[in-house]
């Protein structure tokens, strides 16, 4: 492969510089010889490739909604060079074989690193531990385990899981939703709007109560706990308290919870149906603050593609979830950087360094310097565009950002030295 020379990019915290890529790694730019492809990055910011801790690739099982190919293509467009693929596929990723299979799909079809997440419990049933150890030992090297989609409601199971993964530096990622306070039908933040609209309520307490319990268990077991898609102020308060106590808990927030509020569901459009639900302003404010000050460590998209026929139902019947890979950086840029809450160095931490660290991905979230793997995204902070859902690389169209004017930052994504996405100039 020919060398790639990126000219004049603004390295976050490092000033303008050239980047030379050879055989999938950065080398000293002064080493450039004549035969080299060039990419003009004048006016662009270079970030380490983004890492998504929480993606649903739907393969195996729902290839009509998304595949590893289409999902990672969407990831590449969003500036991601690695995605963690959640276990709620069909079959569930709860064995070493299943994890190795997903990893192999990634190797064959992926436009980014595909790292399978292993289920915590067999079949996501929340009763018995899945083969966590074997998944960790498999070629997939699973380190993040989650029953996402379902809450690990049994305190004893959570304890066992947290204890068990300590042996191989694993982390349990909890989808916090007390099933007795917010059952399977709960689909709208419990408050004024759910009362008016006659939609089953999903109270903030259902999330915060589980997190409060789990940080106690994490303290007891001295294990690593990660909280998926934090959506409300109460949860932020619990995590802040836990971190102050030295409990080893990390947290992520999804882009939609940084910008969209519960008032979006007033028209009963299932595009805005997501789990956990969109919350009122005060919660959006709280998670933004938490992301800015690091209480929330990472942005994770919870990219959840759905075939049209799974969304075009009555609100209460429709599938939960929104697309997110292609628009994540744009939303974070708009809500956090353009508003002055955060600078680029913090964004790099939240969207690349910390996710890579939590997932223990050695080759991601690295500095952009000689010797490091060439995972980089070039970003134009000023570009803007109206989101067009039909232009998506995803096979699905459940896009809550359609028609909105947002930043359109990603100019080029380079994964292991190969350009996986380049915007037409």
């Amino acid at each position: 492969m020919t060398d790639l020379l990126i000219r004049g990019a603004d390295l976050v915290g490092g000033g303008r510089s050239d980047l030379l890529i050879r055989d999938g790694r950065f080398v000293d730019p002064r080493d450039a010889d004549g035969d080299v492809d060039q990419l003009d990055a004048d006016g662009l910011v270079a970030l380490p490739g983004l890492v998504d801790l929480h993606t649903h690739l739907r393969e195996p099982g729902r290839e009509d909604a998304e595949t590893v190919d289409s999902g990672t293509m969407a990831a590449a467009r969003g500036g991601f060079t690695a995605v963690l693929a959640m276990a709620n596929t069909d079959p569930v990723t709860d064995t070493a074989e299943a994890a190795a299979y997903v990893a192999s799909l990634g190797a064959r079809d992926g436009h980014a690193d595909v790292v399978p997440v292993g289920a915590v419990s067999k079949g996501l049933a929340g009763v018995e531990l899945a083969e966590l150890g074997l998944m960790a030992r498999s070629s997939a090297g699973v380190r993040v385990f989650s029953d996402d989609g379902h809450c690990i409601a049994d305190a004893r199971l959570m304890r066992r899981a947290l204890e068990y993964v300590r042996a191989f530096d694993g982390v349990i990622a909890q989808h916090a939703q007390d099933p007795k306070l917010a059952g399977a039908g709960a689909c709208c933040h419990e408050g004024v709007i759910s009362g008016k609209l006659g939609l089953p309520g999903w109270p903030a307490a259902a999330e915060a109560a589980v997190v409060a319990r789990d940080v106690q268990i994490a303290e007891l077991t001295r294990s690593r706990l990660h909280i998926c898609h934090v959506s409300c102020a109460e949860t932020v308060d619990v995590i802040r308290w836990a971190k102050q106590r030295g409990i080893n808990v990390t947290a992520e927030v999804a882009p939609h919870h940084l910008m969209l509020t519960t008032s979006e569901v007033v028209g009963y459009d299932p595009t805005y149906k997501v789990n956990p639900p969109l919350r009122p302003d005060e919660h959006v404010e709280a998670v933004r603050e938490a992301l800015a000050d690091g209480t929330i460590d990472a942005v994770a998209t919870d990219h959840a593609p759905h075939a049209r026929h799974d969304k075009e139902h009555a609100f209460a019947d429709a599938a939960f979830g929104m697309l997110g890979l292609e628009t994540a950086l744009a939303v974070v840029l708009e809500t956090m950087i353009n508003s002055g809450r955060m600078g680029w160095p913090e964004l790099v931490k939240r969207m690349s360094i910390m996710p890579a660290h939590i997932a223990r991905l050695a080759g991601q979230g690295r500095a952009l310097g000689a010797g490091e793997p060439a995972n980089v995204v070039l970003v134009d902070p000023a570009a803007r565009a109206v989101v067009e859902r039909d232009a998506s690389a995803s096979l699905s169209r459940n896009n809550p950002w359609h028609g909105r004017e947002l930043p359109d930052p990603v100019v080029a994504t380079i994964w292991a030295g190969r350009i996986t996405y380049q915007k037409e100039r």
């Binding site: 009362g195 008016k196 006659g198 009963y268 026929h309 799974d310 139902h313 609100f315 209460a316 019947d317």
Partner: protein, 310 residues
């Protein structure tokens, strides 16, 4: 008027017009030829995703007495389980060339979603726990007649107090009535145990009371809501006995009602649970009047939606 989805779609003048028209429509019932040609050649489909013999036949008769062609489609059983999306079901029906779709659905919001997908007029016949606008209209029709009977020429809701008692959280009848009665100027008091009051109720234009007896002396109309025994499995109240003693329209409560006050119930009733047999059959019970009002009010609404130029 393109659709009737919510009781909030109507202002006071529109409501009055619909009720006045319903008075005229109620005369049809007594005629040898129970037909008015106003909707001749119009096709109305009752698309019911939830069982309801009473409401469905009420709409059916209403449409037929206006000479419309009425078709009943039962889409019961979750469309999700049958694999057909709601959108596909609605579009398929609309593609047959219907003028109006009367939709009853077990999920809140379905009629709104349907109205975005098709051109036909959409009439909400009850969506989940959200709204039931024609029920609120027939309740208002019945209450207005009662008010006119008690004081000649009086038909204003201003200054009147309506107490709605029961499972407010899960009641579309309550929601629509709160909206409509407010528009008409009545004072609304909701009475329920705290577990059956919806979230965010402080923002509703109502008074809330968890003590039924306090409210009795004040209420001109006592509207009892059906409480489902299934709610007990959700732990909303401990036993039917406790519910009846706390929130039922028992014989002592019937006696404590304000002179001239009347009783309503959207039906079907759980005699002995939320309403005693005495109250159901009392002289001041308007329950049967409500049933009779259903057809007239629905004729009126169908005429308003379909009787003029498109």
């Amino acid at each position: 008027m393109r659709h009737l989805l919510s009781a909030a779609d109507l202002d006071r003048d529109q409501i009055t017009e619909i009720l006045d028209l319903a008075e005229e429509m109620s005369l049809v019932q007594g005629r040898p030829v129970k037909k008015l040609p106003a909707l001749r050649g119009r096709t109305v489909v009752n698309l019911f995703f939830e069982d309801s013999t009473r409401t469905r036949s009420s709409f059916e008769i209403a449409g037929k007495w206006l000479s419309a062609d009425v078709i009943n489609i039962s889409a019961k059983g979750s469309s999700v389980s049958k694999g057909e999306s709601l959108r596909d079901t609605v579009l398929t029906v609309a593609a047959m060339g219907v003028d109006a779709l009367v939709i009853r659905h077990y999920a809140s919001g379905a009629p709104w979603q349907a109205s975005r997908w098709i051109d036909a007029h959409v009439l909400n016949a009850g969506d989940g726990t959200h709204e039931h606008p024609t029920q609120a209209l027939l309740d208002a029709f019945t209450i207005r007649r009662h008010l006119r009977r008690s004081v000649a020429d009086q038909s204003s809701f201003e200054g009147k107090t309506v107490a709605i008692v029961g499972d407010i959280t899960h009641s579309r009848v309550a929601r629509s009535n709160v909206l409509l009665l407010n528009t008409m100027g009545a004072e609304v008091i909701l009475v329920a145990p705290p577990t059956l009051l919806p979230s965010g109720i402080d923002s509703w234009p109502v008074l809330v009371c968890t003590d039924f007896d306090q409210v009795l002396a004040r209420a001109d109309i006592v509207m009892m809501l059906r409480v489902q025994r299934e709610r007990m499995s959700g732990g909303y109240f401990p036993t039917p006995r406790e519910y009846t003693i706390g929130y039922g329209l028992t014989r002592p409560r019937l006696a404590a009602m304000k002179p001239g006050a009347a009783i309503c119930h959207p039906g079907p009733m759980n005699r002995g649970l939320e309403i005693s047999a005495d109250a159901a059959d009392a002289a001041n019970s308007l329950i049967l009047d409500q049933v009779a009002a259903g057809v007239s009010v629905r004729m009126s609404v169908l005429y308003e939606l379909l009787g003029g130029a498109e």
